[in-house]
């Protein structure tokens, strides 16, 4: 065990605390009354969780690729199943991202959620536990439990507080992701049967046969590609994003989508390195298609939320591209891009939520010429749009640059093709920015036909759109800090992932070395035969 992990040396069990605080908060919330109290309670609990997670940043040991802050308890001895949680350079940033995004989710729902506040707070807090559990579980069963358990609160968030087509969107979300992950369960159990352990670091050290790796890889990759979402499994995302309430969209964009990338890095690459290198061409092509198709689809949207949703498909394409380049720059870029996407797209969804609360429309044409009314809003919109299209100086630039650097380093053609995605990103984001801030060419900006939205605006008439209030500015400023901090000085973040990424690449290389030996002996076809024999054994 000591080979893989460093036990928690802080004087309190930090990771378990992070898991428990939201659950306890949710249980207490059941007994609270009054929407305002509940909102403050939710905010307090998520803030406490965020502060409790700070030691992960300050006390993190960057020199080792081992898992840190590990806690180990017996859970299910009969199956050699332990409760074991820990973080390494790959997961620690995602944990921090989760704990810091959650208070924003509560804040941005402050007035957006009008019904069933108690349920909303409870569900959001449970969601936080589930998401943290996915990132810190070091045991395939623990991972799976949180991975699947997360579906329930997320389903409820979309289904209860969603928009007009919430029924369709929520069911599609649930069934799509559930169907993807049941195969994950089979892979988890199959690996247990082979090795007798559920412990992730131990599973990484196994050298499975190629055929077995292929099955495991396909089962895992299916679940992760759906979550990611990767073309052609992306169709649930726009539906879920558009219908979800603002907090749901933020959670989806900032954290849920990252789980696919995290899964690839944690499971597919180290546990099935042979299969990974075998499948790299397919996955790279799928990533490129995601980047370009996502960009093109975003270009044609008139609904702001849909546009951002499709842009997510494109951005996530960059993440998978980086991951499957299997080199240092690529993987680091992908990791950084995950964080960046969490910050930037999360902020964009918060911005959409803000404008939707005022105009009750998500159509671009209904929200144009905002520059005249909402200067603060427009400033933030500008910052985050530029960040989304990877403008130099912003966070996404660093991530995309690293991914492209990795791509040109290894496959120049792939790099060249993905440049097209970056251009598309500029095209659709600038178009959005231009239309929302200045344009009134189509002549029906909101202030001309404010009556059609009814009188419930409560903004003192249809001509006055209130600019962002203090609560909204706080959220946006917080994220803006990250945009520029990561954009100008990404070294601290990159340093944190350094050892783990190096270790991961080492694991993949060691695994693939076996494959090269096999190929060298011209036994490539034998692999397919073993796969065939394995299929026969199935029946």
């Amino acid at each position: 065990m000591e080979k893989y992990l460093i036990l928690n040396t802080l004087n309190f069990p930090i990771l378990s605390t992070l898991l428990i605080i939201p659950v306890v908060g949710a249980i207490i919330a059941m007994f609270l009354r009054g929407d305002t109290l509940l909102k403050f309670w939710g905010l307090a609990v998520t803030l406490i969780t965020a502060f409790a997670s700070l030691p992960l940043w300050t006390c993190f040991d960057q020199t080792t690729a081992k898992f840190q802050f590990v806690e180990l308890r017996h859970w299910f001895p009969a199956l050699n199943l332990n409760y074991v949680v820990g973080v390494d350079g790959i997961s620690v940033l995602l944990v921090l991202l989760t704990t810091f995004v959650m208070p924003l989710c509560i804040l941005c729902s402050w007035t957006y959620i009008k019904t069933r506040m108690k349920e909303f707070i409870i569900v959001s807090l449970l969601m936080e536990t589930a998401m943290l559990g996915v990132f810190i579980g070091l045991n395939t069963v623990l991972f799976y439990i949180f991975w699947e358990g997360m579906l329930v609160p997320m389903y409820l968030i979309i289904a209860i507080w969603g928009g007009a087509r919430k029924d369709y969107a929520s069911i599609k979300f649930f069934l799509y992701t559930f169907a993807g992950s049941v195969f994950l369960l089979v892979a988890v159990i199959a690996m247990y049967i082979k090795t007798g352990t559920f412990f992730i670091p131990e599973l990484m050290d196994q050298h499975f046969s190629f055929a077995f790796q292929m099955w495991v890889f396909i089962a895992f990759a299916l679940g992760f590609a759906i979550k990611m979402p990767m073309f052609p499994f992306h169709t649930w995302l726009p539906a879920a994003h558009v219908e979800a309430p603002v907090a749901g969209s933020v959670i989806l964009a900032s954290i849920l989508l990252k789980m696919g990338g995290y899964g690839f890095l944690r499971f597919c690459l180290p546990m099935a390195p042979l299969a990974t290198s075998y499948c790299v061409p397919v996955l790279l092509v799928m990533s490129l298609i995601s980047i370009i198709v996502g960009g093109y689809l975003a270009l044609g949207q008139t609904d702001i939320k849909k546009l951002i949703a499709y842009s997510s498909v494109g951005h996530m394409g960059f993440v998978t591209l980086g991951i499957f380049l299997l080199n240092d720059a690529g993987i680091k870029g992908a990791m950084l891009q995950m964080i960046n996407h969490g910050v930037t797209t999360g902020a964009l969804f918060i911005l959409i939520g803000i404008i939707y609360e005022r105009t009750h429309s998500r159509e671009i044409s209904d929200n144009s010429k905002l520059g005249m009314f909402m200067p603060i809003y427009v400033t933030f919109l500008g910052i985050f749009s530029l960040s989304s299209l990877a403008f130099p100086g912003t966070n996404s630039f660093v991530g995309e640059f690293l991914v492209l650097f990795g791509a040109f380093d290894k496959y120049p053609l792939v790099g060249a093709a993905s440049i097209l995605g970056a251009i598309l990103a500029a095209a659709y984001m600038l178009r959005l920015l231009q239309k929302m801030v200045w344009d009134d060419s189509d002549g029906h900006a909101h202030h001309d036909h404010g009556d059609s939205h009814g009188d419930e605006h409560g903004h003192g008439g249809s001509h006055a759109l209130l600019d962002c209030n203090f609560r909204e500015v706080i959220q946006l400023v917080f994220l803006t800090v990250f945009v520029f901090w990561i954009g100008l000085n990404p070294t601290p973040l990159l340093d944190m992932m350094d050892s783990s990424v190096a270790h991961l690449i080492h694991q993949v290389d060691v695994g693939s070395a076996v494959q090269q030996a096999v190929e060298h002996h011209g036994e490539h076809h034998a692999l397919l035969e073993t796969a065939g024999a394995w299929v026969k054994n199935l029946f």
Partner: protein, 472 residues
């Protein structure tokens, strides 16, 4: 010696006797329920106390071991929950309420006998005790037309036919093995099953009556109609407790046939696959909740079979775990159905509308039970499925497990549909459902048990493993 070993059965017999004497007089519903609950609770305590006893009785035809005692606890617990769930017995004809409780208790008694029976004739007798009581009880229903009569007749006809087939199979088994004792059969059957198709057919025939009880394909035809026709109280019993009894006998019979993978295993595998596929696909289009649960129970029977047919420790103990899980989560659903139908009528998706507003607690119970049946962690249903798949993969049934997980994904849709209607479809006209404290407590019980045992299954699972160890 006999007294202590036979204590659980005696306690339940006493319950039946008291209920029998109460049928002679006139009592209020509350009194009948209080007596039933109190006596069953006492039985539960006694059964629990005798969890670790062992012994043989009646010329070794009746064996008390860890397996039988665990199942007796589960059966009595199920009976207790059914009694507690049917608060007010609104679906049962007024003058038959005491008889209803008595017959249900007799049926549970038969199942208790069944879990200890290790000899073919004894098995048949116990089976008939439990079945006959149910034949009587199915048509006890108040004011819902004649639908319950149809249900009663279907249940009798299918039951009689399957018992006949079982009896026919027993004659073959006796002819092949020259004994009616399972223990002696276990020495001869594995060799016979491996070489003689007749032995396979005989074993399958013997199992038919238990397929019928468990609602496993091809003996599942009665399920939807009986569930729909019988009163909500009766259905909650028929859907859960007899299946527990069926599982223990299937475990015993499969272990008699031996651990090797033979044609016998493949017949069971086919039955399991057909059962889960047919059950899930048909459940997708149901509108009546009890019919939906009927088809879902056919599917669950298939999952359980996946554990039973492995005939080794991991698989069988997971089947034991799963049937306990199945009983709890199904009772959770029936509890919601029962409370949604003040007149004892059948409940459709329309009645679920706006449930989260009308009664948040009921909606929560439905949510937890339904997601548990769908196999979403961290519930008991997920742990059950996880164990089942582990057991089956361990034995090498990859294809079976893949079919099962595809089924689980399909099934998620209709469980989700229940939750969706309860939480998302508004219906502001109906008044709120006010649950009395006892009912609210029971809802909390279901939620807590399903979640806690799901997160910490060690105790139940080790009990299950101890239990199946006696079969090895």
């Amino acid at each position: 010696m006999l007294n202590t070993v036979f204590m659980p059965e005696l306690a339940l017999m006493l319950t039946v006797l008291v209920l029998f004497f109460m049928t002679l007089g006139k009592f209020r519903t509350g009194a009948i329920q209080a007596a039933s609950l109190l006596l069953t609770a006492a039985t539960l305590v006694v059964t629990f106390a005798s969890l670790n006893t062992q012994g043989n009785m009646f010329f070794d035809a009746y064996q008390i071991d860890a397996l039988s005692q665990l199942f007796k606890v589960v059966i009595v617990l199920g009976l207790f929950l059914v009694f507690a769930l049917g608060r007010g017995m609104r679906g049962v004809e007024g003058k038959l309420q005491c008889e209803f409780n008595m017959f249900i208790a007799i049926s549970a008694l038969g199942l208790m006998f069944l879990s200890s029976s290790v000899e073919l004739i004894t098995i048949l007798l116990s089976l008939e005790i439990s079945s006959y009581a149910l034949y009587v009880v199915i048509p006890f229903r108040r004011g819902q037309g004649r639908i319950h009569v149809e249900a009663g007749i279907k249940y009798v006809l299918f039951g009689a036919a399957s018992t006949g087939i079982t009896l026919y199979g027993m004659s073959y088994v006796f002819g092949l093995a020259h004994t009616t004792y399972l223990k002696e059969m276990a020495e001869r059957m594995p060799a016979l099953v491996a070489t003689q198709p007749l032995a396979v057919i005989a074993m399958i025939f013997v199992m038919t009556a238990f397929f019928y009880k468990l609602a496993l394909f091809p003996m599942h035809f009665w399920t939807p109609d009986v569930y729909e026709g019988a009163s909500n109280e009766t259905t909650s019993f028929v859907a859960t407790v007899p299946k527990v009894g069926a599982v223990i006998l299937l475990l015993r019979l499969v272990s008699v046939a031996g651990v090797d993978i033979t044609q016998f295993t493949w017949v069971l595998a086919t039955v399991a696959v057909l059962s889960m596929t047919l059950g899930n696909l048909t459940a997708l289009v149901q509108f009546d909740l009890k019919r939906l649960l009927a088809y879902s129970s056919i599917a669950h029977a298939g999952y359980i079979m996946l554990g039973i047919l492995t005939a080794d420790k991991v698989g069988m103990s997971s089947a034991v775990f799963y049937i306990i899980a199945y009983m709890l989560m199904n009772l959770g659903c029936f509890y919601v159905i029962y409370n949604l139908a003040p007149e004892g009528q059948n409940v459709t998706f329309d009645d679920l509308k706006g449930l989260s507003r009308r009664s948040p607690l009921l909606a929560m119970t439905l949510l937890v039970s339904a997601f548990s049946m769908a196999g979403v962690p961290p519930t008991i249903g997920f742990m059950g499925k996880f164990m089942l798949f582990t057991g089956a993969l361990d034995k090498g049934f990859y294809a079976l497990v893949i079919i099962a997980v595809i089924n689980a994904a399909v099934a998620a849709y209709y469980y989700l549909k229940m939750v969706r209607v309860a939480y998302c479809v508004p219906d502001d006209e109906k008044e709120k459902i006010v649950l009395p404290v006892s009912a609210a407590l029971m809802a909390t019980f279901f939620i807590v048990v399903i979640l806690v045992v799901g997160a910490m299954p060690e105790t139940v699972l080790s009990a299950a493993q101890n239990a199946v160890a006696t079969l090895m």
